[in-house]
């Protein structure tokens, strides 16, 4: 049976004046998965999430969320989507408790128990006003609120990069549990390590185009990592244009990645293969560098 589609977007275009941010982006998001949306700065990740959250309009294309067209069902759809962005700035002259009492009335499925539970686990004082909280704390509260609306889709935009390590692990686990309960997460981040073993799917967006949309465990299956050492550095193989540097290792050797299909002679590289696993970071670097 085909897994249910949460989002089906076709040929989405978004421009700001002369600047094209999204260029005919096709994207399908399946229910229950944890998507890592990766891309360099300015690639269009936040814009894509804003469009999916109904915050921003797109110039062309079609978007269906939960089988309904976004254009005509914005209000219904918003009830099912939680959106947390690092750009969100709660600037209200209210205490957190007062604010969320008002906020919760707008959502049909608001889970007060979950909200109170998470807030107390993180020891936030609800009687304090928003401006007394740090940016990271505000983001944590926003993420808790987004979970408490019992969404089916959670869009998380760069939020975890402002969290401390403990908070990051705590919330990543929360998001994974949310997916295990049938929810769907699309998360953008520049700290790729944090989702290395958590994201079920990886999407790479570069210059407004989707380069890769695949299950994370398959993201590296067509790629080969080789290691350049002092002994083999003069070999002609390392002069190949299709080879992309992805990092220097602790033993001062350098790792390169290439696509299997782009190297004809398999025998040529067998002796240089780096046996270590290709990380998501390296996959991201390979695709974005190759695109450039």
């Amino acid at each position: 049976m085909e897994p249910a589609l949460v989002i089906s977007a076709k040929k989405i275009c978004k421009t700001y004046g002369d600047l094209t941010v999204l260029n005919k982006v096709d994207i399908n998001i399946q229910k229950g998965n944890f998507y890592a949306l990766l891309g360099h700065n300015g690639a269009g990740k936040s814009t894509l999430l804003k469009i999916l959250a109904g915050q921003e309009y797109y110039n062309k294309g079609e978007i269906e969320i939960f089988g309904k067209k976004l254009d005509g069902h914005l209000k219904e759809v918003k009830n099912l989507i939680g959106h947390v962005s690092e750009q969100i700035n709660y600037n209200v002259p209210l205490s957190v408790g007062e604010f969320f009492i008002n906020y919760s009335k707008l959502y049909k499925l608001w889970n007060e128990g979950l909200f109170q539970d998470l807030i107390s686990r993180q020891s936030f004082d609800l009687s304090r006003p928003f401006n007394e909280f740090s940016r990271g704390q505000k983001m944590q509260i926003a993420l808790i609120a987004a979970l408490a609306i019992e969404p089916e889709l959670l869009l998380v935009d760069e939020v975890t990069s402002v969290f401390d390590v403990c908070a990051r692990n705590f919330y990543i686990k929360l998001l994974k549990d949310f997916c295990n309960r049938g929810g769907t997460v699309v998360m953008t981040t520049n700290v790729i390590e944090e989702i290395q073993n958590n994201a079920t799917d990886t999407i790479i967006l570069t210059k407004g185009n989707i380069l890769l949309n695949t299950p994370s465990h398959q993201a590296a299956q067509d790629l080969v990592k080789v290691r350049k050492t002092k002994e083999n550095e003069q070999h002609d193989f390392f002069k190949m244009k299709q080879l992309f540097w992805v990092g220097t290792n602790s033993d001062f050797t350098e790792s390169y990645i290439f696509h299997k299909k782009e190297c004809v002679d398999k025998k040529e590289y067998l002796s240089f293969i780096d046996a270590r696993e290709i990380t998501l970071n390296e996959v991201f670097m390979f695709y974005t560098l190759r695109q450039e």
Binding site: Y16, G17, L19, S46, K50, A53, G54, Q55, E56, Y57, N59, L74, K75, E76, K78, N79, I81, H83, S85, Q87, I88, N89, Y90, N91, V92, P93, L94, S95, G97, E98, F99, F100, I101, N102, Y103, K105, L106, Y107, L126, S127, A142
Partner: protein, 546 residues
């Protein structure tokens, strides 16, 4: 801890109190600065008034900016809430209305505080605030409100509101980057400059129809962008902008027009309102216009056969009455019978004003300025511009030489605002005795305007003031007829004494007028440089204890 729903008024109160606190701090700060200046430089109360008036004029800008800045930082999450965009739009409109209310209340508080310090601050009130201040403070020393002051406050508020809405409130379709505002930010400065000049023009008192058109134009522009921002997805081209603006503008006119038609038979409507509608409508709808004019005139008991003829010519023969035609009713006789300002204007509008003779203009101005029931305002420059769009230099010169004092003054104001500087110089030299008298008594603030203008204009040629030594001048002995002999050489002295008298005067409104004239005139680039030099020189002179 148990939390309860926070009603909207409570949220508004919180925002209001925040702003009140900020504004109050600014008042105290400015007050302290003023007091320090007063103590160190002495007799420097004008700076306090200037500081307060600055705060008053810009408090609207400050509050709206602060509010909309708050609003736009909250825009992202507001838009992600599951509420329809229509509701969002409505809430936004309500929010804007509350802001206007807040601006009004807070600026009133500032004004009342400034009034407590100096009654001269009353000059800066708008009419509603004026009434409010009188009511709250139960005082009778407030100066009468000039019309220009009211307009100044009103237009500043309107313009600032519109400009803020256009530039600070982001377009919710495209929120976060530089390009996301309804108007690209790169054009912001040009629009600010444009609105500043429009504001200056409005303050100078243009004909009502121009004021009204500018206001409607801004309103249409503002409405268009609001609608576009909330209901349109794709950016629209220039032709759409033109079409939408035209539609909205037509809609505004239609509403006004329908309103006028409906009001014709509304017996409870005051006649001055009817008369102003006639001014607007003109011959747009003969039946309505004619009927309204007749009703206004009947209510003033001046409807007779002559009047019927005039109205007949105006509405049915499709031409304005020739003021020189001996067959028509005498325009002077007609306006003499007028009992309200609007019916006065409306009666003149029945005639072809461009054919008015100098004698007729003199008489009309005299009637206008001497009728006790017209809200006489020494700064009102409307009457001459209403009577004639453009005066020839010859006719203006005739008016400047008029034997009627009010006419000379009006002509001088017109010469100042239309920049006929040569005439001002001529006039000052020719009527130096009049100026000497006026300046000595410091009753005619207009003299300051004209003399300052002449001084500034000539300064750029002579650059006298920077080189002159004023220490030996006794301004009390300085006779203005002296300058007739050698005007360029004496300009520095003239300016120095002019300001010295203003500063020493106990007539506290004069410095306000002086400052306001700076404000009005400083848009002239040629004058601005000299103005800065003169101001610096004045400060230096004061520092030397002069």
């Amino acid at each position: 801890m148990k939390f309860e729903m926070v009603p909207i008024y409570k949220m508004f109160n919180k925002v209001f109190l925040q702003h009140l606190g900020l504004l109050w701090s600014l008042i105290i700060l400015l007050g302290l600065i003023g007091q320090v200046m007063n103590f160190t430089v002495q007799d420097c109360w004008i700076y306090i008034v200037m500081a307060y008036s600055f705060l008053i004029f810009y408090s609207g800008l400050f509050i709206i900016t602060s509010n909309t800045a708050n609003y736009s930082t909250n825009f992202n999450w507001l838009l992600s809430l599951p509420i329809s965009r229509v509701k969002f739009y409505i809430s936004h409109v309500v929010y804007c209305l509350l802001q206007l209310f807040e601006v009004f209340v807070l600026s009133s508080i500032c004004l009342i505080v400034s009034l407590l310090i100096s009654p001269a601050g009353g000059f800066l009130l708008n009419s509603k605030q004026h009434k409010l201040a009188k009511l709250i403070m139960n005082i009778d020393f407030l100066p009468e409100l000039p019309m220009t002051s009211d307009l100044l406050g009103f237009y500043l508020l309107v313009i600032l509101g519109i400009v803020n809405a256009l530039f600070i409130l982001p377009n919710p379709m495209r929120l976060t980057s530089q390009n996301n505002f309804a108007i690209p930010q790169k054009y912001k400065k040009y629009f600010f400059v444009l609105t500043f000049f429009v504001g200056i023009y409005l303050i100078s008192g243009p004909p009502p129809i121009i004021t009204f058109s500018i206001f409607l134009g801004l309103l249409a522009f503002f409405t268009y962008y609001k609608l576009h921002a909330f209901f349109k997805i794709k950016p629209l081209g220039l032709k759409h902008v033109i079409v939408y603006s035209a539609v909205l503008l037509s809609l505004n006119f239609t509403i006004l027009y329908i309103n006028s038609i409906l009001n014709v038979n509304n017996s409870s409507l005051p006649t001055d309102k009817l008369a102003s509608e006639i001014l607007f409508l003109g011959k747009l709808h003969k039946g309505v216009g004619k009927k309204t004019v007749e009703r206004v005139l009947q209510s003033e008991h001046i409807m007779n056969t002559h009047m019927t003829d005039i109205i007949q010519i105006y509405f049915d023969n499709n031409r304005r009455n020739n003021v020189l035609d001996p067959q028509t009713f005498d325009v002077i006789q007609m306006i003499k019978a007028k009992r309200s300002l609007s019916s006065f204007y409306q009666s003149i509008a029945l005639f072809d004003r461009n054919r008015l003779t100098t004698y007729q203009i003199e008489q009309i101005v005299k009637i206008y300025k001497t009728k006790p029931f017209f809200n006489y305002n020494p700064n009102d420059t409307k009457i001459l511009t209403f009577l004639k769009r453009k005066f020839s230099t010859r006719q203006l010169r005739q008016l400047l030489s008029s034997s009627i004092y009010e006419v000379r003054n009006e002509a001088l104001k017109l010469a100042i605002f239309t920049k006929q500087r040569k005439l001002i110089s001529e006039f000052i030299i020719a009527h130096i005795h009049l100026y000497e008298e006026n300046l000595t008594q410091l009753v005619n603030t207009l003299s300051f305007l004209s003399l300052k203008r002449v001084t500034f204009d000539s300064l750029k040629q002579a650059n006298q003031i920077m080189q002159s030594d004023f220490t030996e001048i006794d301004c009390r002995q300085f006779l203005f007829k002296d300058i007739q002999k050698n005007l360029p050489a004496k300009l520095g002295q003239l300016y120095y004494c002019n300001n010295q008298m203003a500063i020493e005067s106990k007539f506290k409104l004069a410095p306000i007028m002086l400052w306001r004239s700076d404000f009005i005139m400083s848009y002239d680039a040629k004058i601005r440089d000299n103005l800065a030099k003169v101001k610096q020189e004045l400060v230096d002179l004061k520092n030397y204890g002069l």
